[in-house]
C-alpha cells in the first residue's frame, strides 16, 4: 500500500522534519530542534501538531441517531449540548476497547475524531452497528491541526477572532479565507489548546500564518512525551482490545446515568467490574533515578513476583526524569507502593504514583 502524505507534507519538509511512517502516513517525528526543545516550547509557548492522519468521521442524523449512538457509546448524548465534546470509547461486547475517541455534537449530527490506525476499522464497525441507516463520511478532504500551549489562544485568536471565548471541550464553526472551519478547545498535551478541522487546500496556509505569529511545528516525538506527562493514554499501547475502560482507570468518562440503565455495548462487563473490582488497573509509575522503563518492561513486587507490565515509558522533559504508565494487579495499585522494573536484566526500584506527572489548568468555562 502506498504511504499517505498529509496536506502539510511540503511544510514539514520546509521545516526540516525527520519523517517516520505512522499508521500508513509519512509523519514528522521531530524537526531540527529536537524532541526536548519542541516539548518545552509547547509547554511554555505554543506548538502546532499535524494530526491530519486522525479520522474525522461525520455522522448525520437527528433523534434516532442519538438513541442509536447511545447503544454504542457510554455517554449521555441526549443531554450533550450543541458543539460540546466528550471523550469516549468504541467497545466490543466484553468492553474491550476498539478505539478511544472524542465525539462532538454538531448541527446535523456528530463529529467523531478517531485514531489513525483504527479509523477504517471503526468505520466498518460503526456502519454495521448503525445498519447503514445514516450518512457517514470519514472525511479525507479535511486536515486536522492542533495548536497547544499557553500562547496558543492569543496566536489563534489573532487570525480567527472569537476562538478565545470557547470553553474547554466545546467548539464552533469559524471562517478562514471564506472557508468554514470547525474549531474545538481541546487537545492531548495537558495544555490549553485547540484542534482545527480545515479543508486540505487551506491547511498549509493557515499553519504558515500560525508559524508567522510565533507558534512552531512540533513532531510526534514530543506529542508522545507531552501526552505521557499529562497521563493520557495512547491507543495500541495503553489501551487495546484486551483492556476495558474500568481497567484503564477511565471510568470518569462513563456516564453514571447510562451505567444505571446498562443498555450499551459492553455495559454488562463494565457494571460487573465497577461492582466487583478489576484484576489489573492502569497506574502511573515513577522510576527512581534516571532509568527509563519502556513499553513491555516487566513489573515486580517486593517479593520478586511479576505483577504487571509497562505500556508507555519515556523521559519526561518537563518532569526532568523518567515517567511511565502500565497495568499492575489491583492490590499493588495504591499510590507509593514500591515496585521493581526489569530493564536489561536488572531490577530497578520505582513507585506507583498518581497521574498526571505534569499538571496545568485547562481553561474552563460554563458547562
Amino acid at each position: 500500500m502506498e504511504i499517505k502524505k498529509t496536506s502539510l507534507y511540503q511544510l514539514h519538509q520546509d521545516c526540516n522534519a525527520k519523517f517516520v511512517e505512522f499508521a500508513g502516513y509519512q509523519m514528522p517525528i521531530q524537526y531540527k530542534e529536537g524532541i526536548i526543545e519542541e516539548h518545552k516550547f509547547t509547554r511554555n509557548h505554543s506548538g502546532i501538531f499535524d494530526v491530519s492522519h486522525m479520522g474525522q468521521l461525520f455522522i448525520y442524523g437527528s433523534e434516532d441517531l442519538i438513541s442509536d449512538l447511545e447503544k454504542i457509546f457510554p455517554l449521555d448524548l441526549k443531554n450533550l449540548k450543541l458543539n460540546h465534546s466528550k471523550y469516549s470509547f468504541l467497545m466490543d461486547k466484553d468492553a474491550g476497547i476498539y478505539d478511544d475517541l472524542i465525539i462532538t455534537k454538531i448541527n446535523q449530527g456528530f463529529l467523531i475524531i478517531l485514531n489513525a490506525a483504527c479509523k477504517d476499522n471503526d468505520f466498518k464497525i460503526l456502519s454495521k452497528l448503525l445498519n447503514e441507516k445514516y450518512r457517514m463520511v470519514l472525511d479525507e478532504n479535511r486536515s486536522l491541526i492542533a495548536i497547544q500551549g499557553p500562547k496558543s489562544s492569543q496566536i489563534l485568536n489573532d487570525l480567527i477572532e472569537g476562538i478565545e471565548k470557547l470553553s474547554f471541550m466545546s467548539g464552533n464553526w469559524f471562517s478562514f479565507e471564506h472557508q468554514k472551519i470547525y474549531i474545538t478547545r481541546s487537545g492531548y498535551t495537558g495544555e490549553d489548546g485547540f484542534e482545527i478541522s480545515i479543508s486540505n487546500k487551506f491547511a498549509d496556509k493557515l499553519t504558515r500564518q500560525l508559524i508567522d505569529k510565533g507558534s512552531k511545528l512540533i513532531g510526534l516525538g514530543a506529542r508522545d512525551t507531552l501526552r505521557l506527562e499529562a497521563g493520557l493514554c495512547l491507543y495500541g499501547h495503553d489501551l487495546d482490545k484486551d483492556k476495558t475502560p474500568v481497567e484503564a482507570n477511565l471510568k470518569w468518562a462513563i456516564s453514571k446515568e447510562r451505567i444505571s440503565k446498562g443498555d450499551f455495548i459492553g455495559s454488562d462487563m463494565i457494571i460487573k467490574q465497577l461492582n466487583n473490582g478489576v484484576n489489573k488497573i492502569r497506574v502511573g509509575i515513577k522510576p527512581e533515578g534516571r532509568i527509563i522503563a519502556r513499553e513491555k518492561t516487566k513489573i515486580f513486587n517486593q517479593s520478586d513476583v511479576l505483577i504487571g507490565e509497562i505500556t508507555s515509558g519515556t523521559f519526561g522533559p518537563s518532569v526532568n526524569g523518567p515517567v511511565a504508565m502500565g497495568y499492575v494487579e489491583n492490590k499493588f495499585s495504591k499510590k507509593n507502593t514500591k515496585v521493581f522494573l526489569e530493564v536489561r536484566g536488572k531490577k530497578h526500584p520505582a513507585s506507583i504514583c498518581s497521574l498526571p506527572f505534569y499538571k496545568k489548568s485547562y481553561v474552563k468555562g460554563v458547562n
Binding site: 517525528i29 521531530q30 529536537g34 524532541i35 526536548i36 526543545e37 516525538g221 508522545d224 512525551t225 534516571r290 532509568i291 527509563i292 519502556r294 519515556t314 523521559f315 522533559p317 523518567p322 536489561r344
Partner: protein, 126 residues
C-alpha cells in the same frame, strides 16, 4: 597522542600510550536525538572488541554502545551519567564514555581514520 580512529558502530577512540579513550561520534548523537540516559561499563571489568559496553537512550529508544577494541575499563565518565545532555553538546571531547587499557594494539588497525569515517557516515545516513 595518536590520531583519532572511528568504528562502524559510530564510536571514536583516541590512544594515549596503551590507554584508549572512547566515546560516540557527533554523527551518532545526531541520529539518536536528545540523549536522556547513559549507562557505562564497570570500572575494572573487561570488555571485548565489538561487545556491548554501555547504553544510551534518547526520548525515543535505547541503543547499545559497543567497544571498538578489547581491554580493561580503567575509568568512566560519571559526568555524562549525571547529565546525559552533555553527550549531545560535546560528544567527541568532554563527553567521552570510558577509558580502556588496551589488550591488543593491533585491533586499532581495523578502524577507520576521520576521512574514511566521514565518508562512511555520510553514506550510512543517505
Amino acid at each position: 597522542m595518536s590520531e583519532v580512529k572511528y568504528s562502524k558502530e559510530h564510536e571514536w577512540i583516541k590512544l594515549d600510550g596503551d590507554v584508549a579513550t572512547i566515546g560516540i561520534t557527533k554523527h551518532a548523537t545526531e541520529m539518536l536525538g536528545d540523549i536522556v540516559f547513559a549507562e557505562l561499563p564497570e570500572k575494572g571489568s573487561n570488555v571485548e572488541k565489538d561487545g556491548t559496553a554501555g547504553v544510551v537512550e534518547s526520548t525515543k529508544a535505547a541503543s547499545d554502545v559497543y567497544t571498538p577494541v578489547s581491554g580493561e575499563v580503567v575509568d568512566t565518565n560519571q559526568a555524562i551519567v549525571d547529565d546525559p545532555s552533555k553527550i549531545n553538546e560535546d560528544p567527541e571531547n568532554t563527553a567521552w564514555f570510558f577509558k580502556l587499557k588496551i589488550k591488543d594494539l593491533s585491533e586499532m588497525d581495523t578502524l577507520m581514520n576521520k576521512d574514511d569515517y566521514d565518508k562512511f557516515a555520510k553514506e550510512a545516513s543517505a
